[in-house]
């Protein structure tokens, strides 16, 4: 597992949390929204389910071996309405991806996905509506 914490991204994480009014729970009730980390590995599975999709990633552990991470993200109905469908994720199964997100507070290999960068350099990222409005 290779991940790093970037304090510079904390503000961004909080903005995204503010925008997550859809959630039946606050992301902070499960994830450490004060710390964002980056993880690189192989995309192994995509669950296109309600109330939020999930992606699974095999990542190398620091001490050797591989562990499987699960990252939850937005609801499929939201992703469809911002122009993303399941194929946009599934086409990358078996490829190397990098995700940025927040780890579950229980220390498990579970995270909240805020950005995914695919092997071809394309990326999808949840940002604040204020940021979108300025573009």
């Amino acid at each position: 597992m290779r991940y790093r914490i970037s304090s510079a991204l904390v503000a961004c994480a909080m903005l995204v949390a503010a925008g997550s009014a859809w959630a039946h729970h606050s992301p902070s009730s499960i994830f450490d929204m004060t710390k964002k980390f980056t993880l690189t590995g192989t995309l192994t599975e995509v669950e296109w389910v309600n109330p939020h999709i999930a992606v699974y990633i095999d990542a190398k552990k620091d001490g050797g071996g591989v562990e499987n991470w699960k990252f939850e993200s937005a609801p499929p109905s939201w992703l469809r309405r911002v122009g993303v469908n399941s194929a946009d994720f599934r086409k990358a199964i078996g490829q190397t991806v990098t995700v940025e997100g927040n780890r579950a507070k229980d220390g498990s290999t579970y995270g909240f996905l805020q950005k995914i960068t695919f092997a071809d350099g394309n990326s999808l990222e949840m940002v604040s509506p204020q940021l979108a409005d300025t573009h």
Binding site: M14, G19, A21, H24, S26, S29, S123, M126, L131, A132
Partner: protein, 273 residues
């Protein structure tokens, strides 16, 4: 932090409701010219998705090109400007004094107690306005998209009474009639394990819901009134919604699998429905 956002969100809703309440009651209705052969306003068509979704935006980088997209959530929120033809409304239902502590308890524990957050059917009226309306001479067909499944409702407008033999359901037994240019849908016979709104708005099987639909220009106006004399001191009319027409065809909702409850270490939550 989460509570601060919830409070800010609620304040926006209450402010909008207050402004609209002062200005909406007696305004003349603007009627769309489209009518069906029997003379009623034509409400048929596809309407904007009106289940709450993330308020955030998506930044997409594709082949070096950057784009942003977000979802129009206006159909789920109280209208920001006065709605012609709307009934007077209040921001929240009035529960009997002895039941207000229960409402607060449910609200405080909503993250774990609200079944709609765990793939449960929202029921009427929490499902909101329909995604598609098919208007026939003696019946209206409402189609919805929802994480719990994709419900439909058939609402007869031929003057028949409520069914006497039906079992209680999440979406109730509905009949409709026209009052001028407004479709009035009257629903009864509900199961009691839904809430009629986020905020711990519980009810009993005696709940009675009236939904009103009318056109404001090209938009669909939608307003609900809920009564349950077992728990409320008076019927509650909610702030009207303005739902825009849509060109997005309905899609089958993916299966709902909730896997978060056991991970929560606090009850923070955000408003959803």
């Amino acid at each position: 932090m989460a509570h601060r956002y919830v409070c800010a969100f609620a304040a926006v809703i209450l402010l909008g409701a207050s402004v609209a309440a002062q200005q909406s009651a007696s305004a003349p209705a603007t009627v769309d010219a489209r009518r069906t052969a029997d003379g009623h306003p034509d409400l048929s068509g596809i309407w904007a998705f009106s289940i709450a979704l993330p308020g955030g935006a998506l930044k997409k980088v594709e082949n070096g090109s950057v784009s942003y997209a977000q979802v129009d959530l206006s159909g789920r929120m109280p209208a920001k400007t006065p709605v012609p033809g709307a009934l007077p409304f209040t921001a929240a239902p009035s529960y009997k004094p002895e039941l207000q502590s229960k409402v607060k308890y449910l609200l405080d524990h909503e993250a774990k107690l609200d079944k709609a957050f765990f793939c449960g059917k929202p029921g009427v009226p929490r499902i909101g306005s329909p995604r598609q309306i098919i208007q026939l001479p003696n019946e209206m067909i409402f189609l919805y998209e929802d994480a719990s499944g994709d419900p439909y409702r058939i609402i007869y407008t031929d003057g028949r009474p409520h069914r006497a033999d039906a079992d209680p359901t999440y979406y109730g037994d509905s009949i409709g009639h026209w009052e001028g240019n407004t479709l009035v849908v009257d629903s009864t016979n509900f199961v009691e394990d839904t809430w009629f709104g986020e905020g711990g708005y519980f009810h009993t099987p005696t709940m009675h819901v009236i939904e009103r639909f009318w056109k404001v220009g090209d938009n669909l106006a939608y307003q609900i009134t809920v009564d349950d004399p077992n728990v409320l001191t008076e019927p509650w009319t909610q702030a009207p919604r303005i739902v825009k027409p849509s060109t997005e065809p309905l899609e089958e909702s993916p299966v709902c699998i909730e896997d978060d409850a056991h991970r929560m270490d606090n009850l923070d939550h955000h408003l959803q429905r």
